[in-house]
Symmetry: C2
Subunit: 144 residues, 2 copies
């Protein structure tokens, strides 16, 4: 994997070390990291700060997103996918979609390129988390 | 209109008075306001805090959203609509969709009930804002 997915995984691990949900994200433009973030549902008691949303929050107002690529350790849910579509981020690179299929078809139907790296490291991280804290995971994806 | 849309409009007017984008939102459960919010792109330099997102942020972790109704002065964009779908909010009541058609069909295709009150007060508020600050408006909806 490239340095950007590596940075997204580091964000996920940071969240886990804080007692949070292990999903990380990085926004890239011109082959450089613009911002990074991770899920903060637990840390900030904030339901809208999924990894991708925290990353975009941290990026701030950057003008057009059309030359950006967003990395996430997990396939984006409808909240994050809707944001990617609305902001016109052109490409999404994810660590995996085995533990959560997310909204891939929705993004692709709006012209977003989606690349799934299917990384065992990401799959194992989420499988372990979901097995240990299922109630937190199902809360995070609105499955209550 | 009911007291909840009145409260959403008051949030939009508060944002306008702060130099921000005039879109407000209220989350209701059991006929009571759970939380309210407004667009904070300008106030907090935050691109993800549309009115609906700020409202859900302010609501915090409330468990299931299935008995909630979200009010917004304007039809939700894909970010906010994706969030409504993911969180399984069952009903959306909007002030208008004349100045921005938003993602109504997407929400309805996921079983969300959408009611458009088509209020002249909301239409005029947005028309005036878009005429005065078009660059801010187009930034907010990712049209750059």
């Amino acid at each position: 994997m490239d340095e950007f997915m590596r940075a997204a995984i580091a964000q996920a691990q940071k969240s886990l070390s804080e007692g949070g949900i292990p999903i990380g994200s990085v926004l890239v433009r011109n082959n450089q990291i613009v911002a990074s973030g991770h899920n903060k549902r637990v840390q900030e008691q904030n339901p809208i700060l999924h990894g991708e949303m925290d990353c975009l929050n941290n990026a701030g107002r950057i003008g057009s997103y059309k030359d950006t690529v967003i990395y996430s350790t997990l396939m984006p849910c409808y909240m994050c996918a809707g944001t990617i579509v609305q902001f016109k981020i052109s490409k999404v690179i994810v660590g995996e979609s085995v533990t959560f299929p997310g909204a891939r078809a929705f993004m692709e139907s709006h012209g977003v390129e989606v690349v799934d790296l299917n990384l065992p490291e990401c799959i194992q991280m989420m499988e372990k988390f979901i097995a240990e804290k299922p109630e937190l995971w199902y809360e995070d994806i609105g499955e209550l």
